[in-house]
Symmetry: D2
Subunit: 436 residues, 4 copies
């Protein structure tokens, strides 16, 4: 599957894009388990004989330097590895990807010029895909083969865009270096940090990231997305001492009571004058029997902020609250951060290039200069990395008609938007090599 040559205006083999996207759609894999997905991407990239291809551990910060957040247990990873090999992935490659080392970075060197990056993410979600007849993947036979998992946020399309842009740029008049970042573990907001710290971002002058859908229809382009809330997810493990609630209430150190105290109080952390903040305790469980004072309780939650500073304010404050709630009941509380993403803003100049190019792409009938995401995602790590080094970054919204909302069983993309996305992104990248 080789995408045809790109000339200005870009021509794209939409069928090839669709075929690749459907392959990935049939094989959704959760964060840090994108074994088949990475293997397929690598297979395609190797066929293109690129200048550089960094796979797995070479595409990320060394896992020994900082443990991966939200890495599943070995047993879980082994299951996914086996499934990937069964589906045709190379076993040796899959082994290399284990331990939080999925993903890849493709490099195209094509003459003098700027280094331009494109970031796409590749992981799926633990959602059971619809098997209703009006759900296209079910009707047309590319519904998820990993029951209980689904590409319900369009990352199958994102990976396809990454590959399509490589092809389009290869055959374009682009002069400079293109790096495409196939990032793992976005859904757990866990893969962005390690890829940002891989070193591969450090010479990037301009970085694009892209997301499909976001409630924008096919034919609409959001040239620059901003308003990302910085976010951190966490788990807290409360450990006290059990006792018989009837016979010796005074002997227990009540983990459930401590957790309840923490929950009621983290929501009461003061608002901040500098901007919006968020906090949530989203999942709880604890205890073993109604007549036993609970020894163990667990909570999963998150904090957010309009800026990274505001998010860290919430992190610090909720940390103190949790510790104090535990102390109050002589219970131990251990909090671990299992995800983290900073905030970010798109550079207007890069967005302007997108808007200009999109204006000439067939099928584009609406261009928004800017929109706010209002959520969190870890492309911001890569954007921040580039911007901190003096480069520019821009997050592009690619409209697509999607029947169900993101993260629901009936989510799907309009495959027509794949072509639009490749033409727009490749066009913008090419245009950057002509900037003064």
């Amino acid at each position: 599957m080789r995408l045809p040559a790109l000339r200005t205006p870009v021509n794209v083999d939409a069928d090839a894009l669709t075929e690749f996207r459907r392959d990935l759609h049939r094989h959704p894999e959760p964060a840090w388990c994108e074994f088949y997905t990475t293997a397929r991407i690598v297979e395609e990239l190797r066929a293109r004989d690129l200048d550089e291809l960094h796979v797995g551990p070479d595409a990320l910060e060394d896992a020994d330097d900082e443990p991966r957040m939200s890495l599943p247990e070995q047993a879980t990873r082994d299951e996914w590895k086996e499934r990937a090999v069964d589906a045709g992935a190379d076993a040796d490659l899959v082994d290399r990807l284990d331990g939080g080392n999925t993903g890849a970075v493709a490099v195209v060197e094509q003459g003098e010029g700027p280094t331009v990056g494109l970031r796409v993410d590749i992981d799926g979600l633990p959602i059971l895909e619809s098997d209703e007849e009006d759900h296209v993947p079910a009707a047309e036979g590319f519904r998820s083969e990993n029951e209980g998992y689904m590409h319900a946020c369009g990352h199958d399309a994102h990976a396809t865009l990454g590959l399509g842009v490589v092809d389009a740029v290869l055959d374009s008049d682009f002069s400079g270096t293109l790096k495409v970042f196939f990032q793992p573990a976005e859904e757990r907001i866990a893969g962005g940090g390690p890829m940002a710290r891989s070193g591969h971002l450090d010479d990037v002058d301009s970085l694009y990231a892209v997301h499909i859908g976001l409630d924008h229809p096919t034919g609409e382009i959001v040239a620059g997305v901003g308003g990302f809330l910085a976010a951190s997810g966490f788990k807290v493990e409360f450990t006290g001492a059990s006792a018989h609630a009837g016979a010796h209430p005074e002997e227990g150190d009540n983990a459930i009571q401590a957790m309840a105290e923490a929950i009621t109080s983290i929501y009461a952390v003061p608002r901040h004058a500098d901007g919006p903040t968020r906090v949530n305790a989203g999942v709880v469980d604890g205890g073993t029997a109604s007549n036993i004072i609970a020894e163990q309780a667990r909570m999963e939650g998150e904090v957010r902020g309009q800026s990274t500073e505001l998010m860290e304010y919430m992190w610090e404050e909720t940390g103190r609250v949790i510790d104090a709630a535990a102390d109050m009941h002589d219970v131990d509380a251990e909090r671990t951060r299992n995800s983290r993403a900073p905030s970010a803003e798109s550079d207007a100049a890069l967005a302007a290039v997108v808007a200009d190019v999109a204006d000439g792409v067939a099928g584009v009938d609406s261009i928004m200069d800017h929109d706010d995401l209002g959520g969190s995602e870890d492309a911001t790590y890569l954007m921040n990395r580039v911007q901190e080094q003096g480069g520019r970054a821009c997050y592009v919204g690619l409209g697509t008609d999607h029947p169900g909302g993101h993260h629901t069983p009936t989510f799907d993309v309009d495959e027509e938007s794949l072509r639009i996305g490749v033409e727009t992104l490749a066009g913008a990248i090419e245009a950057l090599s002509n900037e003064e």
Copy 2:
């Protein structure tokens, strides 16, 4: 297996007691699922050609009048029914016992005299029995065959005592009527009420109940146990509305926050001048994801009081607290009571009879007139019923060396205490027919 004739002093076939107890020990069944256990008891009782034998629905209040508390789902009951039939229970009988109708009442009419009752309970626990070599049931081949369930509180011994006392009284000089109550669902504090309201207690002049172990060694008898805390267990289901915690925190009605508020506050219900009270939230769970405001949360808890009034005080107060906590977060809270036991005290006169008789039983080397249980159990329903009608009731403690504590995987009884128990209880019952 017929136990030999009882003469004063009572002679008991200890081997037969042991054999029967081990049969039950191999087949522990949880509350309302005592299909095999009831079938075996009924089989033995039928072999004795008693004057009356009330089985299942005939032994309990009509389940249509008041729903059984803590009744498992039909699917669960079906599993246990199948298991019982596989183990040799009569399928028709098992069908009759379904729907919260396990247990039996045996009646021996033997001349003029008082009506004396004996209550024993028969259910097991969801505990995985030890398979260590020093655990006698494992070593001697009568470990639980229902993996994950265990007679870890000695109710196998209790049922055996009930049968042994029938035999002993049948062949004794006892003059009057004996009723033995084989009560189901004690571990969920759910079976005592329905049996107490069956009508069979209403003509009982004197009622004994018995418990083995309780940290008293073989050879020790506690003539009258008291200090039962009245107790009620409950579940609460909190139902709110979910929302994305980052994008629309104001749209959620947070079920976890409401539950946390309820938990911190139920422990703060005021102490009561009239005596000890207790409260516990022992099990919690709720929510689906760290970034979703929880729509659902569940909690299991209990309240206790030295008296039934004190327990109901706690029930009312915690109910108001839970409702208010739900209101506070615009959440719905539904509480259901899944167990209930009143408090009770042993009558000193009945205890004195036990103490007198025990003094002459071989192997008894220590007699305590009174001890407090400090826990809850639903024999109190039957005791209250008799006492309210002008009768007397007494809860007897039968010491046994038990290696592990009650409700632990290594609990076991010293089978020598079975004989001591039968001789003491049958002797006391016989003595009552000679009271002036």
Copy 3:
């Protein structure tokens, strides 16, 4: 004291302004007790033979239609009335002003043209004024004669600006109608509503309001102030039942416990996606003795929001929380709103006029187009009223060097800024009559 004729450019008798301001400064009066202040303003206005002068009840919504918020007790008002009369105020006039009827509206009709309003506020604060030598009012003999009360927010200057603008406009080329609103009870955010609903605002085409200081130095003008948080203040009275905490803890309905529950929970009302919100419990007291369960507890607090809707969201949510906290402890909670101000924004066109005019005023060396207040004030009621009727409104910041911060004992204004203020405001008003 008649201010001299105003010609373009405006000439102002700065000495007269200073004299009047110092008179008011010596007689600070709290909200709804501005008897002397109103009497002095009225006395000056009467001397000018204006077209209309609405005093007290005629300047405000009928107090019978909606009770004044934060109205002091009659005894307190009587003290202030006596003090005002002693200081020279007309006794009959003072009587008319009683009952929440302080303030006045002055009307100048001067030919065809737009109706332009100016709102100034007139009340003082319960703060003990500094008597240090470096505090100018102390050094120069015009320190507060009402010990414990002080013009610590510059409303003495505001009233002076109102009078100065009347004079300047009277003698200017302004063609149209000028209304100057001398508003009472701003410090309690209680007077703005009644004046906004008086009817006098309903034909105003353009409204200016002004505040001195706000951390801007003499010579700086903020042409349009915005970012007012909507705010509501409240009191809650919790009434339970007392009991001896040792002898009968169960008999109490604990008002302090209910209040504490309410406090911990109001801070936990969810953040809102639409913008910033605020909540505070600022003052509490309750109970009588450590061994008595408290029958009474009181709390004063407030809620705010970036918009009026957001403020009302907080009002509703905290109301439900407070009621539920009271229910939780079987306590009665009665909340009364004692202040309310909506949010508002300044119209850019009116601000532009101010900026233009200020550019030509002697002593002005810095002009800011816009700044956010970040606090609350009830000029917003008047601004909203005008804007709702299709008019325009603008809040002007008048810089002044102030040694101490607002609401502190060493606050003072640089009287040079009085002249700058009159020239800027009167100039802008005149300019409006020349608008196309």
Copy 4:
């Protein structure tokens, strides 16, 4: 005023008792300010030429060794000193009593025999005494002259009993040593400890304490009172940092929020299996304005327990809770103990002596062997001291018809009970010298 000689049966000059009681009743003084009261007692005792009389600092543990709890400020003490001197107290003596050194110990040595103690307390309460006509002190002219203070718990009668017993024993056949302890500061539970540690208790073989009233009528004697709850009172000062609640909510460390958290949580300290416990937050205040995050908040509360251990359990647990609540909000909490009393039980043998003697006292028509107080008082310190040294102690209830309850404005005693009290106590003391 010399009470006449006591012979068996005891004869008492009831008029003299009444006169002395009314003198004290007119001069009620709060804890540690019993300057006039102590001076009058000392004056009377000096007139009797006793063997030893320990006054003020000599009657108590050195105040330098352990600071007095609940000692009023110097300014307050100075007021009471002046008032005492104005009422006729000796100025030098009053000076000696200052600094928490009120009270006295009288010693009568009268031959060989046991050392017997009697403890009476002497302080009044901050209660405004009724001036209704049906209130005897008002009608008969001995209502409190210290407006706002009142002997509303009968300590005026107690001091009178102490003096009456000295006289009665002096002229009786008692052989041994009598010590009468006039203890200060009972109402704050603050004087018992220092007197218990004075050394004067260490050779006491038998100690009586006495309380009048307690809802028992004239003519009823409770020979042995028990069931004292151990108690500790405390104050907590929360100190945070203020901030403007609208402008900078994140900058405050909210003392009110921390206090509220502490309050909701101290009530939730687990019940204890060993017996009743109590906790209360009885008085709170904090904050300065509704729009300011509170820097300061204060709370007064108490803990109790059936035993001293249970009270200290509550002390420790609530302390941890308060510290954690403060930590949760980055606030400092300082708790000071301002009262402390252990629990105690009356020795049955001493009570039996009282019951025997009371049986022969004119006017006694009902004798209860035992009753529970259910409250706290610091006579328990002295009782414990004696019991710890191997002696015996007994708290005697002396019935009196009292129209209003203890600690209410209409409390009064039936003076007839003074004679009954002296005869009963002196009779019991004499009887002890005849014990075998």
